[in-house]
Symmetry: C2
Subunit: 299 residues, 2 copies
């Protein structure tokens, strides 16, 4: 296995990316979801690409988001000024978003600005957005459309979900970097992220290229022992009409994947049955290796 | 002496403001220079109004600018991302500027947004900009026009100064709050700030109203024992054709002031001769009291 592309949302995808980094080093390219991006406090925040980057740099905080030991003096000051701070950002995280907003305003591409962060943290693997164009995930819940972060934080990601839109997707073009990575990959892995909210925003831009790619495509199930570890995956699968099991995941990626990695077998797609919990460095590396070997066997 | 207006730039004016606060409490209104304002990192920074506010709140850092014990994690992160950080802002200071930028973008007046900071720090005295309109100080040095902060920080305020412009001044209107404060004042004090770079940007907007006001107008010399304590006052007075002494200061404010407070007598204006160094709380309060009594005697 040479160059590998991993599609990732937040925590699940990022943890697998970290395991893959041990196996692949600079042969790993992560295409991270930018449907969750948000402009706030003058900053352009890319939660998923940054979460992936922080994981790859071993700089993720134990709280599960943001930078290790980051401080929150700026947010505290905003609160002291009377602002309703609902989206929390550490001081260094804020600076990353301010840097990105400035560079974008100066005409830089999103790909380039996300790469600034990767390079600043000395990460060998690449982290790419699927597109330099804006694709934003909106969720309809309780009769109202909300931007992704608004739904996740203010509504705490609570369903039922009535509808989902990837705004901008119909006109967004894949970046040259993402296209090349997909075309040149020897394996394409869909990480164990929320299929609807984290992976589909990438697929709205790249699904055709992934289907056309020579490489085998393998999805890693986000379900561990039949359960969702984090986030509104159950509500999303329910909205999408999928069952909350390996068959539901396989059905969601039907026509796209050549195999599934999950702890329970799917009926209609080759499945590598293995524990997919990514709780520690050893398990992350073990699952990464198993996924890569499975993909190689399917290729 | 009831309501008093103090015109202030940075450190000198802010120190006198702190002494006046002891004497006047909420009867003090500081009109602070906004010619040094700068938009940077997505923030709208008002160095002089904030410096005054931090002094009034006993929150100024011992380095002479910024908030006491502020941290600089955001700036460190910007540097790590490769940004040339030439304008240093603490994390809480940055948040103040981001709050202000957001509120201004939402349509708030500069007066209101500067007042947010004052209220957040629980300062009893008011801190006002002279105008809600933008007036920006530009300095020509070495053949090139530079915005104030660029001149002060990148050129380290080094003269000779070839020209100075207050851009926007010809169309800027005084705010209602500044106008009322000047009209209702029982004394108007020009603080010991740089006459050309800190006070004149205020006077370009408010000089006519100050001349028309009933209150006596007293200037406090920024010169201590014939010396400039801080900043490019010497180069500025030289450019303005003023001597670096009490006569030069008096000449600069000719037709505007009724008296001068300085440690050396001026020839053509009533002078209160007293030590005007504001090195500690006692001297700040003593000078403030002396200035107010002098103004009352002139009134």
């Amino acid at each position: 296995v040479a160059a590998v592309v991993l599609l990732a949302g937040g925590t699940g995808g990022a943890k697998l990316a970290r395991g893959m980094l041990d196996e692949l080093g600079s042969d790993l390219t992560v295409i991270a979801n930018t449907g969750d991006d948000i402009e706030i406090y003058g900053a352009h925040v890319c939660p998923d690409p940054d979460l992936v980057t922080f994981w790859l740099a071993d700089a993720i905080d134990s709280r599960g988001w943001g930078l290790d030991a980051d401080t929150f003096f700026a947010m505290d000051q905003l609160r002291a000024l009377g602002d309703a701070v609902w989206f929390n950002l550490g001081d260094r995280d804020l600076a990353i978003g301010l840097h990105r907003a400035q560079r974008l305003a100066d005409g830089a591409r999103l790909t380039s600005v996300i790469d600034d962060v990767r390079r600043a943290f000395g990460v060998a693997a690449r982290v790419l957005p699927p597109s330099d164009d804006q694709v934003r995930t909106y969720v309809k819940a309780r009769g109202e459309w909300r931007a992704f972060q608004d739904f996740m934080i203010r509504l705490r990601g609570r369903g039922p979900i009535e509808d989902i839109e990837y705004r901008g997707a119909s006109v967004a073009r894949p970046s040259e970097e993402a296209l090349s990575a997909v075309r040149e990959a020897s394996a394409i892995v869909i990480g164990p992220s929320n299929p609807v909210l984290s992976v589909d925003p990438i697929l709205t831009v790249l699904a055709d290229e992934i289907r056309a790619a020579a490489a085998p495509v393998v999805a890693v199930s986000p379900l561990v022992r039949g359960e969702v570890l984090k986030g509104p995956t159950a509500a999303c699968l329910e909205w999408a009409g999928r069952s909350l099991d390996s068959d539901g995941i396989a059905a969601h990626y039907e026509g796209l994947i050549d195999g599934l990695v999950a702890d329970r077998r799917a009926s209609d797609v080759p499945t590598l049955e293995t524990d997919v919990e990514l709780a520690d460095p050893e398990s992350r590396r073990r699952v990464a290796r198993a996924v890569l070997e499975f993909a190689a066997a399917l290729g």
